[in-house]
């Protein structure tokens, strides 16, 4: 395992998990504020996001300190479980209990709780738990190397993000050709990350994963700019503040794509 700027690959992964915690808290706040915080469970992403942020930063800064890595593993597993439960909540309250239920599936998918969004919390938690185990010297988890598991999480997440972007960009009527980018690029990057997870010794898989994950990283920033532009296309633009932000594309979502792409790059190059 190699290092960059004095930090090991696991420490970089922990810092990226902390960044993901901030970004997902911002996006879930906007979504849950829009629905009026009707359920107490809607506060969970901020509590867990704060826990993830603090524990990941502590484990990245002082990996050798007693108990710090163990707390980060615990926080990560808690967030992982909460993300899965959140996906169930979104399914139940966003589709099942809505008028029409599954018969109006497309309508509910487009206009109610985004079905896959909570899984980002599971991703951040899973990556933090794996990185914290790695930083504490654990070589294998569930019989597999941590590098393989991290790339597996990245691959699944990118695939899920492409589905989510496909759905939400469909709601936005693909009004800009760049809206096709995540639908095309992310499955390719997911496949390359998965290939490299299964065949780490293959030079071709490493090259493909590196190139496509770099493109994923950059596409996240391109998307962030385009989402900002989308906010400004609302009536009155960003000067309208909350009103413009609530009805606009989610501001942090593309940056989460960039953060997951960066996590994959760390796994490919540094683990």
């Amino acid at each position: 395992m190699s290092a960059l700027l004095g930090l090991s690959g696991y420490q970089w992964l922990l810092l990226l998990a902390a960044l993901q915690a901030v970004l997902l808290s911002a996006d879930s706040f906007i979504g849950h504020y829009r629905s009026g915080f009707a359920l107490r469970a809607q506060y969970a992403p901020f509590l867990l996001g704060t826990l993830l942020l603090l524990s990941a930063l502590a484990a990245a800064i002082a990996p050798a300190a007693s108990g710090v890595a163990r707390v980060a593993v615990g926080a990560g597993l808690l967030a992982f479980a909460a993300g899965l439960i959140g996906a169930g909540y979104h399914h139940w309250y966003g589709i099942t209990t809505k008028p029409g239920g599954y018969r109006w599936l497309l309508h509910h998918l487009l206009h109610h709780a985004p079905p896959l969004a909570p899984l980002v919390l599971a991703t951040a938690g899973g990556l933090e738990a794996l990185a914290a185990l790695g930083v504490s010297g654990t070589p294998l988890v569930l019989g597999a190397p941590i590098r393989t598991l991290v790339l597996g999480v990245v691959s699944l997440t990118l695939f899920g993000m492409s589905l989510s972007a496909g759905l939400l960009h469909y709601r936005g009527a693909y009004n800009n050709p760049l809206m096709y980018l995540p639908v095309v690029l992310l499955p390719l990057a997911a496949a390359a990350a998965g290939w490299n997870a299964l065949a780490p010794a293959s030079g071709a898989s490493r090259t493909a994963a590196t190139a496509l994950l770099w493109l994923t990283f950059l596409s996240g920033f391109l998307g962030a700019g385009m989402h900002l532009r989308g906010m400004d296309r609302q009536m009155g633009g960003l000067a309208m503040g909350v009103a413009a932000i609530l009805d606009a594309p989610p501001p942090a979502a593309p940056l989460l794509v960039a953060a997951v792409g960066a996590s994959g790059l760390i796994a490919v190059r540094l683990l």
């Binding site: 960059l4 700027l5 770099w214 990283f217 950059l218 996240g220 920033f221 391109l222 962030a224 700019g225 385009m226 900002l228 532009r229 400004d232 296309r233 009155g236 633009g237 960003l238 000067a239 503040g241 960039a258």
Partner: protein, 195 residues
Amino acid sequence: MGTSMPEQGDLEGVGSAHSDTPAPQPRWRVAAPLHAILVHFSIALTSASFGFDLAGRLLDRSSLASAGWWSLAAASLLSAGTVASGISSRLRLPIEEGPARSTLRAHMALGPLFFGLLLAACSWRAVLWEHGARVPWGYLIAMGGVLLVVAVQGYLGGELVYRYGAAVQGRFRALPIEHPGAPPARVSPAPTKPA
């Protein structure tokens, strides 16, 4: 219930960069235009890094290559503030739909992409710096692309300020050269709106 629609008089001047009526100020705000300050660091440090690395490559001087790395590292750190202060500036700029806002939208779309390219270049440069490797031509060509994006972004920002007067207060004491003999005005009069 409990809400009232704004009167016409309340809305006058909103969206104009040259309003007679000063916009209501929040209780606390940074007086200095942070975005205008930070953006110069982003442009200068990125350009300087490219210049140092190119000169280091041509003259084979390691001190120039070190300067290239540290300039780019500083550019990456400061550019996070540049992007954040840009968004903050936009929130305080009630600008009407039109060519100015189109320019602003392009500027906003390009800003994060520049930041992402800068972070990618900085990661590449960090690996080279750690290994003490010579800067390859491929890196310099890539940095040329980043500089092109910076140039376009800077042009759009310049258009916003100098053509459209975005975020310019327009309160300055004018020289009496237009009307010799007349006492200097206290502040410049607001430009008349085109008919």
